[in-house]
């Protein structure tokens, strides 16, 4: 009974994350539009786009293998699975927590989704897909180890890689009080989040210029419901990254039980955190140009160095 209730809660908060994913994108788009003195599309536009794609038929390249059809579903599945590993509203301390996976599995699943996406892009045989895949894997190579290190720098102090435990303990453990390594790790995570969510200065999600694309280049061969799956996976990945940053560094307001007041407070805290982080992404995207592709490693190197320093400081 206890387990069923716990699983119910975990699934409920994971579902909430998937449902909110497109809204975060809609909010960033709206913010960007307002900063450019445009009215912009409605906050709900990403949901409408998904509904539109789901209604459409699928067109597939002749050179694509049958595996190509499975790619969107697998990418979505890998990404959605990560949502159960995060503290969204509840972070029960202690044994009440079921082992649903930890930060290592979360990052590995995101890497798997990236890999599948790249394989799909190569499978279809288009030139843009290949270029997008090659660039995305280059970025992945730099982002993934750095993100691991940033997460570990917190996990080392918390004594666990389970994100829910980490978040629940953060307020209690003196070792997890804000210290210099946290600042470095947070900075590293913010830099890496820009790359991981496919935003300026690393990638431009709004472009129609195929030659410049990273993530979008890999999606060009997908259409209809398959594209909807991948787009939903992209929205989900974005909110997962933001929630990960929030769980590691700002685990405030998370509920322990299921009192309505607690839940309401946790919901408010979740919105506030997502709002702040999405505003950060939107502001950066409106203030900078996209980097020259060969400058991206320098930019991500900054994240890598900070993550490394954070981990080294924590261990020493």
């Amino acid at each position: 009974m206890d387990n069923t209730a716990a699983i119910g809660k975990i699934v409920a908060q994971a579902g909430l994350l998937v449902l909110l994913g497109p809204l975060v994108t809609g909010f960033i788009q709206k913010l960007k539009a307002r900063l450019q003195c445009r009215q912009g599309a409605s906050l709900w536009q990403p949901y409408r786009d998904l509904a539109k794609l789901l209604r459409k038929g699928t067109v597939q390249s002749d050179s694509a293998s049958p595996f190509f059809r499975a790619i969107p579903v697998l990418v979505l599945a890998a990404t959605v699975t990560t949502t159960v590993m995060l503290p969204v509203l509840w972070a029960p301390a202690g044994a009440a927590r079921l082992p649903m996976g930890d930060a290592i599995l979360l990052l590995a699943l995101l890497a798997l989704a990236r890999f599948l996406c790249a394989i799909g892009a190569l499978d279809a045989g288009g030139a843009f897909g290949g270029m997008g895949a090659s660039r995305e894997m280059t970025v992945g190579l730099l982002v993934e180890p750095a993100m691991m290190m940033a997460v570990f720098s917190v996990a080392v102090a918390g004594g666990t890689t389970d994100l829910v435990h980490l978040a629940a303990r953060r307020g209690m453990l003196p070792a997890l009080a804000w210290q210099a390594p946290d600042l470095l790790a947070l900075f590293a995570m913010l830099v890496l989040a820009l790359a991981e969510t496919g935003r300026i200065p690393v990638d431009n999600p709004d472009t129609h210029l195929e030659l410049t694309m990273l993530h979008e280049g890999m999606l060009l061969e997908h259409s209809g419901p398959g594209l909807a799956c991948i787009v939903l996976a992209t929205h989900t990945k974005q909110i997962v990254i933001l929630t990960l940053v929030a769980a590691l560094f700002f685990p405030l307001g998370l509920a322990e039980g299921s009192e309505p007041l607690e839940i309401a407070l946790a919901g408010g805290a979740l919105f506030a955190k997502l709002f702040a982080l999405a505003t950060f992404l939107g502001l950066v995207e409106s203030s900078y140009a996209k980097l020259r592709f060969f400058r991206v490693p320098q930019f991500l190197g900054l994240g890598l160095v900070c993550a490394f320093l954070a981990l080294a400081l924590r261990i020493l």
């Binding site: 030659l211 410049t212 900078y288």
Partner: protein, 536 residues
Amino acid sequence: MPPLHGLEERLASWAEFERGPRPQDLTVRLKRVEDVPAAVAELCAAGMALASLVATDEEATADRDLKLRYVFEPASHSLRPLPDMFVTLLASLDPARPELPSIAVEVPAANWHEREAQDLFGIVFSGHPDPRPLVVHDGWPKGLYPLRKRFAAGQRPPVEPGEEFPHLLVEGEGVLEVPVGPIHAGIIEPGHFRFSTVGESVLNLEARLFYTHRGLEKRIEGMTTIDAFHVAERVCGVCSVAHGLGFCEAAEQIAEIEMPVRARGLRTLALELERLYNHLGDIGNIAAGASYHYGTSAGLRMKEAIQQVGERLTGNRFLRGLLVPGGVRFDLSAELARSIEAAMAATAEALASLMERIENNPTVIDRLDTTGLLSLPDAIALGMTGVGARASGVDRDARRDHPHAAYGTASDLNVTVVTESDGDVHARLNVRAAEARESMRLVRALLASLPSGPLRVPMPEALPPWRIGLAAIESPRGAAIHWLRSDSAGRVDRYHLRSASYANWPAVPLAAQSSIIPDFPLVNKSFELCYSCTDR
């Protein structure tokens, strides 16, 4: 004609000379077509540059030949200040065997001109380094030359099974071919770009255009001046005023009509508004190429404001409908003049603010600097014109070098030509911004001192027969050369437009080869060339 002193003596053994088409121009009639390369070399040595190449089919006339007219204009520093004149080198070809030596190796600017004449007239340029078809695409029947007079414009030729176009192949380990277009993701016109790349660097780029060749030059033949004008005005959307004006000036030259001063002023006003909205939009497009969202929106916003005052002046967002052969159709009211004045003030402020933001944003500047380099010798060899040429240091502007409309008629209507020397995207952006400021100054000067007088003078229904009009107009993308000849009935016998984009397109692949693939859209947008001006 002091700058070209001695040219006539040097060419005397090969040619006859006459004045024309305009009183200050010179026409050199070659006795033998084999002498074309030698005569071209003499003209180039004298500091002239090829502006246009016009082929005409005169089989039905007394001459019974095909004629090629190499139109040259002064270009070299040694001739400065550049005199407003054209030298036309005239070669007569046997219609049964139209063949002559190519000059494309010595004069790269002639490359496309010769290939176009080869496709549309069947003229063979022996020794051309790249005789692949340019204008006609796969499937066009061999031996059918649409600009020959005996080709009936109404016919629908059968499509022959075409071979695949022989693109230049780059071979070697790791070389990847990336085909882009002709259908693109944005709302732009068709063009095929074939990149040969290793990793992200571009080894070679071939651009194939002319997917929507409309045969406008053929369509216009036999039309009355006014009908033909409407076609010429619509060659391209964003150069409507420039192309319309070029046709008008050529036709008015033939009809020997003196334009009233107020009409000249209003035409200049429209031309500058057109340049202004193009340059402002292009600045936004460069920002879009660098993914600098704020700049994109700011550019679009400024362009929109200018297009809206333009619509109030002409009734059309693309400023069509104001010009007409013989003058202009609408007057400028005092109220509208105040609106334009206000739009200039607002735009000047917005442009200054945008350029300041761009210059102070290191991420944007890093994208623009050293991207898409084009050297001065390359720009000169390709015969480039307009912003792209001036950003590489070519000090040419048809508004100063071939004064038209009201330019140069008053001291404050003298155009200050802006040049940069770096030849990169940043230089092209800076030239655009400076020219936009100069356009605003010219608009203000025009509004302040617009002379009164009639708006138009009567234009004869039929032009005087067999006369040539030649006009160079500085369109937003550079100098466009209009060549017009009337037939025996006073209608259009032949009209040829060498648009600025036509002259500049070959520079884009060259500039792209110094960049990486993801920078190509930025390089392309920094030239911002037009497809329809090319696919006439």
